[in-house]
């Protein structure tokens, strides 16, 4: 014991003598670290900054001084021009369509994800492992394999050019969201369910009174991911929507960017920047949940 103390003292003394040079070294290394990490961060978001800044430049000057990040004068004309949209429909229509599809699909994804997760997490029944494996396999199944028959089914149902093909499937559970909520439900002590059962609660009562209030965080995570993915979804819209009146923003942007329709890059960048706003807001306000969701997704191994 005493030996340890003297050894400690010795170490402290030697620390003090070299402390100033060490401090300088530490400061230097931490400065270099922060400078490098910041520089690389700027490189990472430069493309984005460039697009946003360009949306405030005069359309004709965007490519002429592409190497100047900051516009000489900030102008908002691109936004008013872009908002007019094309084919008689403004971006107001496209944003409305996007919100409608995204919110409906998200409601479906959350409701089904939570209900199915409860079934898998809390019940022992015959065939459970089989269905669970089926669910996990759907995560690895290339969408292309089911794409054409699904298209034919929706065509038979006369669902083309409606939001139904883009929303209805989400009411039947998506593997990732089921898995996410399952992990969360498994973290709730089973004794709570059992206590409620003894008090006369049915399984359905346990679900609404015990489980649902406890898994609010994973419900929020589900909402966020579903919202972001649906908002960005482009392929589904490309397959099922072919009237400009029903385009969501993602598809409208693609059509807007077609060289045949126009080349007003200022307006293009303005609408692109605007389309990123909802996802960007989620990113700012719900980062914690995003990180959590991503970690459950990726750490399964």
């Amino acid at each position: 014991m005493e030996q340890a103390v003297t050894a400690d003292k010795k170490r402290n003394r030697s620390k003090q003598s070299g402390s100033t040079s060490k401090k300088i070294k530490k400061l230097a290394s931490s400065t270099i670290y922060h400078v490098l990490v910041t520089l690389f961060g700027i490189v990472m978001i430069y493309p984005l900054l460039w697009m946003i800044m360009s949306s405030f430049k005069e359309s004709s000057s965007i490519f002429r001084d592409a190497d100047n990040l900051i516009p000489e004068t900030f102008m908002f004309e691109n936004y008013t021009n872009g908002w007019k949209g094309f084919a008689d429909y403004s971006f107001g229509t496209f944003f409305k369509n996007s919100f409608l599809i995204t919110i409906t699909a998200t409601i479906g994804a959350v409701a089904s994800g939570v209900i199915i997760a409860y079934g898998f997490a809390r019940f022992q029944f015959k065939g459970k492992n089989f269905w669970f494996s089926c669910m996990m396999l759907t995560m690895m199944l290339p969408y292309q394999v089911v794409m054409i028959p699904q298209f034919l089914i929706f065509q038979k149902l006369n669902w083309i050019n409606t939001i139904l093909p883009l929303t209805v499937p989400h009411f039947f559970g998506q593997a990732f969201f089921i898995f996410l909520n399952m992990q969360f439900i498994k973290g709730i002590p089973k004794e709570m369910d059992e206590a409620a059962r003894i008090d006369g609660c049915s399984y359905y009562g346990v679900f609404t009174k015990i489980i649902l209030p406890m898994i609010v965080p994973s419900i929020i995570t589900t909402c966020i991911f579903s919202f972001m993915w649906r908002w960005d979804d482009f392929f589904g819209a490309l397959l099922y929507l072919n009237k400009p009146s029903s385009y969501p923003v993602s598809l409208a942007l693609k059509m807007f960017a077609d060289p045949s329709s126009q080349s007003d890059w200022g307006a293009m960048f303005a609408m692109s920047s605007l389309s990123l706003v909802p996802v960007f807001l989620i990113f700012i306000f719900f980062q914690k949940y995003l990180v959590e969701g991503i970690s459950t997704e990726g750490l399964k191994g």
Binding site: M44, I115, F125, I148, W231, L251, S275, L276, L299
Partner: protein, 309 residues
């Protein structure tokens, strides 16, 4: 448990059934089973059958045996090209992105007051990276009068070429877009790094191991399960990539960026060659399954699984 259940005998027929554990489990997963049947199983069977037919939506499908598959590998040079391009893209971009993610995660794991901001900045591209807006932006950045050439010019390297117009560089522009989105993998690695017990590193220091040694002997082995899982999932996604090819390059120039999923889409919805497209989808499934199987086979050699005591 069982006794408790027997004591409370629910009254009535349907209620009794619904309150049985077996049945209640099925009630809750019923949406999945129904959806799985309608949106997965029936389409899988249909697409398998259509793969052996000639079908253009308007007329009835006619059975042609293996003709679609034979044509693919013998008479369709565009198909072979798209296969090559997609393989190259998936096999190059996924490891590069994971490597980038790991390196940055190792750098950011060092605690600092600003690390939350750094993490957010590096993560942002992968949040928005899949959107049409970013694809359109990427296209303009690498165009002949885009920001890359402008920046090169300002540091004295005149460059007139369009990165997307050159058949050798176009695919790299798409790979770069994929690597740019390393942020979510980085977060996964950061979470994995935090799970490694500090005591291991302390023990390594006592044993006289340096930083590099403890990285290769502790950090990397303990991360391999995470790396493996992400490698599998992201490689699969790489094979299914569509948006980049469709929006940024349109498969041009000279089909050098013609992704498999894009060519399949063209076959199905431009040429209405649905039978052929279904056959292509099954080839894709076989490829994805084989790649996954190969990765799993190889995992015994390099993935470290902690023995559970």
């Amino acid at each position: 448990m069982k006794k408790v259940r027997q004591q409370r005998k629910p009254s009535g027929g349907i209620r009794a059934v619904l309150c049985h554990e077996q049945a209640a489990g099925y009630v809750f997963i019923a949406p999945f089973i129904i959806g799985f049947m309608i949106f997965t199983i029936i389409p899988i069977i249909a697409s398998f059958l259509l793969a052996f037919t000639d079908y253009d939506i308007l007329s009835k499908p006619s059975f042609i045996g293996l003709d679609n598959f034979i044509k693919m590998f013998t008479a369709d040079s565009k198909f072979i090209k798209s296969l090559e391009v997609t393989f190259f893209y998936a096999v190059v971009s996924t490891p590069l992105r994971l490597l980038m993610a790991l390196v940055v995660a190792m750098i950011l794991v060092r605690p600092s007051k600003l690390s939350a901001i750094y993490r957010a900045v590096y993560y942002l591209p992968s949040i928005i990276g899949g959107s049409v807006a970013v694809a359109v932006m990427w296209k303009q950045i690498f165009s002949s009068d885009g920001v890359i050439n402008a920046l090169l010019m300002s540091v004295g390297i005149p460059c007139e070429q369009s990165w997307l117009g050159n058949k050798n560089t176009a695919i790299w522009v798409l790979i770069l877009l994929s690597v740019w989105q390393f942020g979510s993998s980085m977060l996964i690695f950061l979470a994995g790094l935090k799970q490694i017990p500090r005591t291991l590193y302390e023990a390594a220091i006592v044993d006289g191991a340096g930083k590099i040694q403890s990285f290769f002997k502790i950090t990397l082995p303990l991360l391999t399960p995470t790396i493996f899982f992400n490698l599998v999932m992201q490689t699969i996604n790489g094979f299914m990539a569509f948006t980049q090819s469709y929006i940024i390059t349109g498969g041009k120039p000279l089909n050098s960026t013609l992704f498999y999923a894009f060519y399949l889409y063209q076959k199905a919805f431009t040429n209405y060659d649905m039978g052929y497209a279904c056959a292509m989808a099954w080839v894709l499934l076989v490829i994805v399954a084989s790649v996954t199987a190969i990765l799993f086979k190889s995992s015994g050699r390099w993935v470290y699984y902690e023995s559970k005591e």
